[in-house]
Symmetry: C2
Subunit: 704 residues, 2 copies
Amino acid sequence: MKKALLIIFLLCVSIVANAQNSSLLPVPQQVSVGNGRFRLSSTFTVAVKADPGDSILYFAVNRAFQTLNRRTALYFGQQRITAKDASDTCSLIIRVKQKKEAIPGGDESYTLTVTPQNIYLEASATAGALHGLETLLQLVQHDKEGFFLPAVSIQDSPRFVWRGLMIDVARHFIPVDVIERNIDAMAAVKINVLHLHLSDDEGFRIESKLFPELQKKGSYDEYFTQAQIKQLIIYARQRGIIIVPEFDMPGHITGFLAGYPNLSSNPGQTYQPGPRFAFGDKQMGLMDIMKMINSYPTPSFDPSKESTYVFIDKFLGEMAVLFPSPYIHIGADENNGVSWRNNPDIVAFMQKNNLADTHALQAYFVKRVQQILTKHHKRTLGWEELLSKDLPKDVAVQVWTDGTKMNEAARLGHSVIVSKGFYLDLFMPAYTHYQNDLLVGNLPDSVASKILGGEAAQWAEAVDKDNIETQIWPRAAAVAERLWSPYTVNNVDDMYRRLFVISNQLDEIGVQHISNYERGLRRLTNGADMASLKTLTDVLTPLKGYKKLFAKMTSPKSMSYQTAPLTAISDIVFVDSEVKRQFRAAVKSYLDKSNDADATSITTQLKKWLDHRTAMEPMINKGLLDNNINENSKKLYAVAMIGLDAIKLLQNKEKPSADWLKQRLDALDQMKKVYGEVELAIIPEIRALVNQRMDAEPASYPIF
Amino acid sequence: MKKALLIIFLLCVSIVANAQNSSLLPVPQQVSVGNGRFRLSSTFTVAVKADPGDSILYFAVNRAFQTLNRRTALYFGQQRITAKDASDTCSLIIRVKQKKEAIPGGDESYTLTVTPQNIYLEASATAGALHGLETLLQLVQHDKEGFFLPAVSIQDSPRFVWRGLMIDVARHFIPVDVIERNIDAMAAVKINVLHLHLSDDEGFRIESKLFPELQKKGSYDEYFTQAQIKQLIIYARQRGIIIVPEFDMPGHITGFLAGYPNLSSNPGQTYQPGPRFAFGDKQMGLMDIMKMINSYPTPSFDPSKESTYVFIDKFLGEMAVLFPSPYIHIGADENNGVSWRNNPDIVAFMQKNNLADTHALQAYFVKRVQQILTKHHKRTLGWEELLSKDLPKDVAVQVWTDGTKMNEAARLGHSVIVSKGFYLDLFMPAYTHYQNDLLVGNLPDSVASKILGGEAAQWAEAVDKDNIETQIWPRAAAVAERLWSPYTVNNVDDMYRRLFVISNQLDEIGVQHISNYERGLRRLTNGADMASLKTLTDVLTPLKGYKKLFAKMTSPKSMSYQTAPLTAISDIVFVDSEVKRQFRAAVKSYLDKSNDADATSITTQLKKWLDHRTAMEPMINKGLLDNNINENSKKLYAVAMIGLDAIKLLQNKEKPSADWLKQRLDALDQMKKVYGEVELAIIPEIRALVNQRMDAEPASYPIF
């Protein structure tokens, strides 16, 4: 009898623990839930059995220990963990076989075992231990008795070796502290590559000692010094991350040309860093813009002159010493060839060398640069446009727009990094990245063996240092899971549940995604109470795709996005609304089960949306909030009314009349009119209440 | 008739404008309110008539322009202001006679004239123009028609030339980004000196190329590289601020000794950076601590060995090149002489040199160091303990504990910097610093001529990078006004009103004081709704004086404050509660005028406090919030009940019975029991409601 009770007890514990440890993100390879809980107290101690010279490991252990100390406020008696702390009686025992830093392709596996008495973390190499520490921190939970970790046994290693985040620091400069916070966040979700897009038309963002005019004339004084880069590289290494630099060429080089105009294929001009096109004062449509992209004589390096390669050799040689990364990224994207075709010297060079067209000339250029990098002991990486039949096999290809290039490049024997489907600057919800069709399923071995992994990409036309964290986090964590966890981990609702848990953990370690959103709201309300505004903005999301960017770039004022004030609602809100996701879950559940609890929570939320208008109207009348906010606030009020009507029908188990339905659906259609480049995120859920049926979300949204 | 109406209209405008431009902080020397408003629009343009090589001026102008662009979101047509922008038709015309950087004692005056058509900013030197730009930004306001500046004419210059903020980066290391944000905030309130306390027992925080063991063994890897310091110096210069480094000696030097133990007066030992005293595991009282401070053989430099001065010469020589500051601060505080008296060699040295006691020996040491600094073209600055009859006259004295030293040092011919009364780490409300009795009145000319100014001081035993901004800001702005504005500017209520306006402006430019407080609350609620907790913590303030620090330092756990998790309520709340100040203003006004509006706002606030308990109790029952929060929450509830009783009597114009009064006052007295090292800030105001009389606030509070 006692035994039976015990079994039932253990079963319950196991179920509870199961529910509780499932907020891990990314989901580990194998998780076996154990029985009981490891209780954290001030007597918690840590021992490390490893190479005493593994300074990265000790740094990471102390960092995790302090994070735990701060989260629990337990005032641990142990203060700093050193090689002297190796006792078998410690609460947490960490064993690392080999001091070996993180490098894509290195051993990143670890096992983590939590029992009610102890925690054991084991890894063959330093990199795995760092990941295990992050998993350990994600396991910490709280109940009435205090903080604990559920008993569990985890065996973990990544699906892909290259899990990256690209940050464009050229369009808007993103300073050191913001990059550091991104690195902290990356480490928390096991992203191991930070790809810095360091040069573009809009700016050159790194100090060159050999060519100081680069930063002097190309950066408006906003660039990383070499001392800063060295420290950033160390900061990243200490968190298991490598920094891969990108110097975009032969196009996207106005940043280079500001300092060294003679490198240009359009000779005899001077250059100032800035957007590629001057749109002028008239409002332009999408077609005008596409036409311009393909026909504008954007300057490129002159590939016909030997002096170009002398420069590239010296410059990349300097950078190859500065960056320990095995790869250097040379961009090679979006070179339309117009400026080459316009230059008679270059045309003559093509004829002399039997280069049939500018694509062949670009292939020639890439090959020359690849030879230079090989000489400097670096492998070459570039965007998909550098792919050609003759491309040396050791060049890795980053796919960003044409998904078929993934298989093509792999078939040709190139390593592949996938960024198509991972463009964070398109303002798409996390689930679309999570369900990226290039990687969501099982890949044939022949392809899989060539896929290094992928990279979330944050281009910076429409973000600056004050809102970039809100754009990247927590969304990039969904990409991190796609790249780390088995492809069978694929439940969108569960991903979103965990995504907002990790978001709070990132907030705790200092990432500014929530703080910057809230600061943005305080700015908009000018010190007045912001509760009602937040009720509104919590369900507003930026216009998807390039529409938001083009709205600014093509405005009649010909505004440069580099000096535009990114302080409007559309600049500060999250791309994924947590409130929308919670509301969606409740609506889904209610349409499924018709239970009262869901009906109550839905009604409460709808009333909150209705009520926000009461608090907001006087603020608008005082001129505290602008018309875009007013129009969106009116929308939210109207939508909440429709929702309340709809849920009443559902509660009465009535089917709507055709008239009723048409009226509501028409009203919802009218909500498509956009004010201030934001959308009301909860319209699909209101529509579901009206239709009494939840439609699946679209797999993707139009980019233009 | 028309003319009369016009006059009445202008009069009204003038009164409105007067009320509106008064949120300037610090208050300028002279303000004449004009008629009308200058409207900001996207056509706003700026011209600069100045030395085209004045890069600091152009940087500041562009920075202010972007702040304005971001605050107003007007998308100014002009994008970057260069020497080419010098047209007389621009909206804002800036004239600077001489390119001249900020240096204490330089010309900092400016005039700022706003008319409905134009804004004119004029200054003799760059430093004044930078101040004028900050004043201009503080003038920006908003109404139904948009953003504007009221017409006004301002002539301004500071009362004192040295307006400083000292940040202790030794006890807890404060990294570059936090220092940069503090510099931004300092510039906003015209503080012109950043004093960095770079070494102490707990750490050595700057890279030395000559003595690398200093940072290697003295910092736990947390220090500024020379490259970082160079960039910080530039960052500060661009904002009109100089950085004065402090290297504390001959005491407070465990940070030095970790790397170079032979410099010690206690020879033959090894040292690890850490708190001066080991308190052991027993709870110690104040007297025990004071006894220890006076009797503990804390290590000092050995002043009897020539090798000590050889080291200091080389080290300060290196720092003198690194820091352009005309002064170097050598500390010289709290050397109790015990370790000197314990060392027979040092005693013999004293006898040989006719040095009567350790004070004389310290005077000898200081003189030697002053000679070294003179050789390196620097003036010496130190804490008041370095004052002695023979102290060379060019040594400046920073008074921190004994107010009489201000006059004494001035009489002896020394320049004086006042920090007594400006210690931010004592958790005293801003008004006590604002009313600092050393500086609040008119000073006799003989003394005034020697007072350089003052410094707010933020020691870092109990703050780290995550809460230091909340401790410093906005409080340091009250010190800034005391040091800049005429002494006749002295209204505490008005200071507080403006302090919270500036607080929002600092938030807007990125200072993290509000964000870090709110992040701290999110951490405590673990993602749950934090509205009720915030209602409580908005009126909780840290225990005043050293009690909070000692509570940690003397805890039975012998916790080192360097690794203590500073995440409790007492660590994250503001020292000055804005809600308390608003409530106080309402209570004061109501007791004065008995008007219904005040009664309503008081009652609303009291009910909000009452209601917070309803939302909080279930969270506490779930174990989400700890017992200290629970006890303080119960207090707030009880106090709100008393307040509601009291205001009912007042509204009924009843005098309280003796019984009623005794019961309530006793209950309020019982609120003195402290939970979690925080106080309920609104007890004096509740007491005022009960007593039907508002008592003046104490001029100061006990430190121990």
